[in-house]
Symmetry: C2
Subunit: 345 residues, 2 copies
Amino acid sequence: MRPRATIADVAAAAGVSLSTASVALNGRPGVSEATRERIRQVARDLEYSPSLRARSLVTKRAYSIGFVVQSPATVMSADPFFGSFIAGIQVAISAAGYVMVLLVSPSLSQTEDLYRELAQSRRVDGVLIDQLRVNDRRLELVRELGLPAVAIAPSSVTLPLPMAHQSAGGAIVRLVRRLLHLGHRDIAHVAGPPDYVHSIERRDAWESTLRQAGLTPGPLIQGGFTMSAGQLAAEELLALQHLPTAVVCANDLAAIGLIAGLQAAGIDVPGRVSVTGFDGIELGAYTTPKLTTVQATPDQVGRIAASMLLELIDQPDRQPWAVEVPLGPMIPGASVAPPGNGSDL
Amino acid sequence: MRPRATIADVAAAAGVSLSTASVALNGRPGVSEATRERIRQVARDLEYSPSLRARSLVTKRAYSIGFVVQSPATVMSADPFFGSFIAGIQVAISAAGYVMVLLVSPSLSQTEDLYRELAQSRRVDGVLIDQLRVNDRRLELVRELGLPAVAIAPSSVTLPLPMAHQSAGGAIVRLVRRLLHLGHRDIAHVAGPPDYVHSIERRDAWESTLRQAGLTPGPLIQGGFTMSAGQLAAEELLALQHLPTAVVCANDLAAIGLIAGLQAAGIDVPGRVSVTGFDGIELGAYTTPKLTTVQATPDQVGRIAASMLLELIDQPDRQPWAVEVPLGPMIPGASVAPPGNGSDL
DNA sequence: CGTAGTTACCGAAACGCTTCGGTACGGAGA
DNA sequence: TCTCCGTACCGAAGCGTTTCGGTAACTACG
């Protein structure tokens, strides 16, 4: 196995200087078409492929972006958002020769260190920030580190960096309206963890939609984005004097957990309580009853956020901008029904 | 924001040559302790952090490993294996200053190209090979590319490269024995996709355990590792003349889908049919009835496979070796019961 | 025919590190 | 006192690119 060809080999074989070979192979002006083609041919013959390392050194680019995910158990294991999101990222960056470095952080404090290392070692040219918290310290951190970053954030927040929006709030509005249309007037909400901006967005959407309809927002349960959180929410709900006729959950997993919890207590869904989710995960189609939800488009979010990041890397001083990623359709399921036609069996 | 310090700055500030600074900071002999400490102090003062790029160029190392996952929808979205596995990898490699590059491949043919690119651009020093197929072309590919690789594979197969084993087959044996102990004699198997070596390992374990018990292996359903595959398997099972009294599924997701399918058809689980899974995913605890399964330890698998890969990168000519990663405990659930005491309601 | 402008190419420096051969200096041994 | 060797350090080369200033040759124009 002979050592791989360098650009010097190509230049020598083509009878040109090293710099000419570089210019020719990178497709920039200053070389005659004939020479360029000859050099290209030689490169192909020698199976030349440029050394990313050497190029990195001189262009000061890592040709990779970073993505730090916190709490792998919750986010990756359960949240199907993740897979499609990653796939979307890759679609966006691979054409540019970029690659994604994935880090998992066991805790919030270690997350900061990971970003620091990523920045100091210059391993990545930029990062994607997801799972945004209230007063998320990462925002200041990336600024301080001079690390280009794009955030995935609700449309409602405004940050000092480029954002890819997916309006989960808009989805909740649609779901609440659907329930209102069916006749529900007592609509509870199982919220996500209170320190996530995504939770707040969804809660606000639920609340304001009900207020707009002239209703007082029903019980609000602090839940979470996991199945177990949904199940716990069921218990809390059952401890109330009045069981609402419908529950809008922050996401599908919580909704599935909630349904399981309600059913375990003998509550009929949707007969006694209607339940909605958000995300459109595959699992929702396998529950009984099938979950009514709105399809999120994590692949699109990933694709758009990543391509925004590439733009930002090219123009670091660009003013922050935002892109709205469209939601998917509502997915109707048997988990909702008009209120009051079910027994309490 | 002034440019970051280079090793030349450190050397100058410490009044030594560049090479001495390098030697001192890398902790190798040839420098007096006093000088070494002085250089270290200067480095700290200047907030020097070595350029990975420059180092990469000269040491010919990328300081990163690659992991290509195929079919993100199936593997990442649904399979909770993934999150823990990744986390385990990171634990193993981060101490060595390594990082993981994650690629997703939409199709098998593109997977090969991804490995090729990874190798040609020398972006990674080695790769982890998971989700092994029968006659997997990646094995020859990495050899051809000279890319160090460690495979995650069943104990039963022998490959020409280092392997991290997790004996899913052993888990299946335990589950089948448990069912036998409960009195079951008619035990079916919902297998995974036939081209995965993991499927074959599990099927073989089911089959041989039954034969050892003097039984003829019951119906074998070609299923899959997903919930929908499990649900389809339920239909196939229901079309048989005799419904087995127990079904051993290739993994938890299939088991959950199977249970859902059986229940939808009015079959009581475990009254009429007992069901077991394998993986120990969180979801299994939220199904009704709770799933009996064996806990896999994907984080350990990831950790061990990754550290094996680092060893291999250090000693590329080392003979292939194998490490067995212990399984977790059996998790009992209400999805199994003695046969024949349930109604067909 | 002389000169300015363009085109096509070359040479060398630079990116920031590691590594290896070499040198000065001190002490040990004869 | 001379030689030898180990220690502590230095200088320079090299990793494989990109980039920039420079130089021939060629065209166009008066």
